[in-house]
Amino acid sequence: MATIDLADVSVTDANRLLLSYGEAGEDVDVVNPDARHHIGVGLTHPITLRVHGSAGYFCAGLTDGPRVEVDGNVGWGLADNMYQGSVVVRGNAGAIAGVAIRGADVVVHGNLGSRAGQVMKAGTLCCAGNANFMAGYMMYGGRLVICGDSGQQVGQDMTGGTIYVGGSIESLGTDAMEEDLPAEEAEDVLAFLDRYEIPFSGRLQKIVNAGKNLRYPRTEPRVRVIPFFVGSERTEYWNSKVQEDIAVKAQIGRYRIRGYGAGRPLPHLNDIAFKRDLTSVPADSDVVSRVDLRTSLGGRFGAKPIELSMPVTIAPMSYGALSKSTKIALAKASALSDISDGTGEGGLIPEVRAAAKRVVVQCLGGRLGWNVHVMRQADGVEIYISQGAKPGLGGQLMAKKVTEDIARLRGIPAGIDLRSPSRHPDVLGADDLVIKVEEFREATGWEKPISIKLGAGRVRDDIKIAYKDGFDYVGLDGLQGSTGAASNEVLEFVGIPTLSAIMEALDALAEIGATGMPVMLMGGIKDGIDAAKAIALGAHGVSVGTSAIIAGGCIACLQCAVGQCVVGIATQDPEYEQRYDIDVESWNIHRYLESLRWQLASIVHTHGYASVYELSRDDLVALTPEAADITRLPYAPEYAANTLAKVAAAS
């Protein structure tokens, strides 16, 4: 039995010690915890950890296997994402106890704070006392046992699992209902209470998902195209697309859902140009070797940086929206081009880990496919706040895409309409986010870069928060970014354009004198010219999603949400997926990435620079008044002939 005194040892050092005690199979007493955060975070050995006093936020978070006992109280996020093992707390727990647990026993002898068991997937969360507001909020599975009273809106938007309440139920949440409790099931819960020595003699009430929400009674019809009158030579106002839109809405009575991003004309990188006449770009097949494109991401706080052969990464896209074959092709292409891949929501599949040289795993609010093991396999960890295509919104993976494999990875029942929450359970503000970042650093031994993905909304404020909250770098996604499914109105009109986003980000960072936090720009980046312009404006690099998908066979039919993608990309149906040839498409994507590299190198070399980071704003002009206003570059439409067409032709 070892002892760690937190009056003398920092929590970071204590967690390192715990890992070595874990290796040795030795149990540990922690004394003088004094409600410090992150005690026991990242512990993956089945040892017993006794905390003599109160613990702070995320006690036993991101763990698998330990038995943790706490004499006093715990703060927010008790046992966050715990797999196997147990936690027993003698006092009270703060908000979101048992958040996203995937199999553990989490027992609190006192009361639970708000939103207990949010997005939990398996295991048992139990309190002897009362639970506060919105217990079981958005839970996907497992059981939540409240021996005392439950507060308002218990079971709010739960999709699976069961809630048992021994006392009074103040109110049921939307889409939750009471159901008869079979005797055998009650016995099972009582046996659990016995095992953890919780006295209970009342009658349990059972609460489950009512299944009333999340059902779309009418699917979107395929519209027969009827020739439409043309009122004048200009057809922006009434035209066949508008007609189709109205006709479909007349059938379904709601917004339309489609894939891809904003399609309407917006100021973009096309609207700025290099001053230098790029027609002088030589047809030099060896230009790539003449300039330095290498870079890295991360390391602001001593983590091991993600090395990149050029300032380009594959944008994060989920296994779920995309087929496994597509994910593997992207991973292979990223390795062939020696850049990094990203997971998006839904976890890291072994095939992607094996194929990619470097992969950044993303943590979203639903914590689907997210756990300490995935974090440790990753080269970087990213907290997703929002995306450019639909900033502020969550998502929904339709039931037919939730296959057994995806369900297993995400820890949820197969075949459910899977809601992804729009926000994190434990990040309700910049102050909470600080603590979340620290938890991730603790779980990864401060070795992995931790980034944030921001959809462009109020960029000026958000990027300052990202800097202060201690992220290594930012993935900034503009309005032109794409998604597998969102409403047309959101895609077109919610968010701000990529060009405005990067300017606001850079201005905001300059305002507070922030340095050393690179911005990776995404949202409508289609080639090396866009990449070069973004970097010249001040981005550290770019990420490509849609263009990589197109390179890999996407035909841009926008029907990603339907689930029957004819080229096997946005589908989980084996019949369609088998049309996708991983080897062929990975090489297509790789060749596209190499064209991007060649364009980038050519532009750098033509400017007479040795490194891509010698590109600057001084090399750019604006071609439209709007772009000049957004970028503060000189308005010089006469440069329009210079760049795009000719470099494109040269490449």
Partner: protein, 304 residues
């Protein structure tokens, strides 16, 4: 987006180490807000006609001019200066005054940025951490009866001393608030209060809470009533603390989006964003703490 802390010693008669207690608590949650730190400190009022006023002033000659203007305006209101201290980026006056306080306060706001006015209250706030602010303003040595404090992580308005917390309820002596969260119907509420003649001096949403509560108190509400109605009237996320000459209180939004933990014994009540701040006051102990439920409020009064 911030951390808050408050402490009230119940027993009257002698002043306690309020400054040090708040420094300790705020240092414990500085991770929630590294940009600026502030304290609203209360001691026994020395005389009914004695007021303390603190203003933000610039350095050098510009500051000297402001101080001269302040003195001239105080003289117009027959406020007789008995003490003057220039410290950090502020100047503090003690004056003899028994006229219309709101009139004086609004008039002073047009001369310089007022940090606080009160018989018992003194607000100290600046950019930097709890210990930085203490180094400049010597908060640790402050003895008093109760106080509230704040660490700020600026999200929407700038990092400046005047946008730091606590906020004094402009025009109303001895009322201060600290807030964690975001008031989303800020502009609507602000316009409503401005129509009633209330003044705002920053674009920080938390200032609204101070002005709102002061307006209620001025119109005869008890602090409890003002807190109760604030939960109905304010939209958004909030856990806030309020202090008056005799009381401290809290209110928490219905969504319970912002943390708050409290500890009470025979000697004191202490409230903070996180238990780690409370535990800093009582190292080595597992405290019996309570997390207030959503949509609740409570006040504590000094035994007088």
């Amino acid at each position: 987006m911030c951390g808050i802390a408050g402490v009230l010693y119940k027993e009257n008669g002698h002043d306690r180490g309020i400054g040090q207690a708040l420094i300790t608590m705020l240092d414990g949650c500085q991770h929630r807000g590294p940009d600026s730190t502030g304290f609203a400190l209360y001691h026994e009022a020395r005389a009914d006609d004695e007021l303390r006023l603190r203003f933000l002033v610039a350095e050098g000659d510009e500051g000297n001019e402001t101080i001269a203007d302040i003195k001239a305006r105080l003289a117009e209101f027959d406020a007789q200066v008995t003490e003057e201290e220039r410290i950090g980026n502020t100047v503090r006056f003690t004056v003899k005054f028994d006229g219309d306080l709101q009139g004086l306060a609004y008039a002073m706001e047009h001369v310089a940025k007022v940090v606080s006015i009160g018989q018992s209250l003194d607000i100290v706030k600046d950019v930097g951490g709890a210990h930085d602010v203490d180094d400049t303003y010597h908060v640790a040595g402050f003895a008093g009866t109760h106080g509230i404090g704040h660490v700020r992580l600026a999200t929407e308005s700038d990092v400046t001393p005047d946008r730091s917390h606590p906020f004094w309820a402009t025009g109303f002596a001895d009322v201060a608030i600290v807030h964690n969260g975001q008031i989303t119907n800020y502009w609507k509420m602000r316009r409503r209060l401005e129509k009633r003649g209330m003044e705002f001096h920053t674009d920080n949403d938390s200032e609204l809470i101070a002005v709102y509560l002061a307006d209620k108190l001025a119109n005869g509400s008890t602090l409890e009533e003002a807190l109760r109605s604030s939960i109905d009237d304010m939209d958004g996320t909030f856990s806030f603390l309020v202090s008056t000459k005799e009381e401290i209180g809290y209110a928490k939004d219905r969504l319970a989006a912002k943390p708050m933990v409290m500890y009470e014994d025979d000697d004191l009540v202490a409230i903070a964003s996180e238990e780690v701040s409370l535990n800093k006051l009582f190292p080595g102990q597992a405290l019996q703490t309570i997390e207030p439920p959503p949509g609740t409020f409570r006040t504590w009064r000094r035994s007088i």
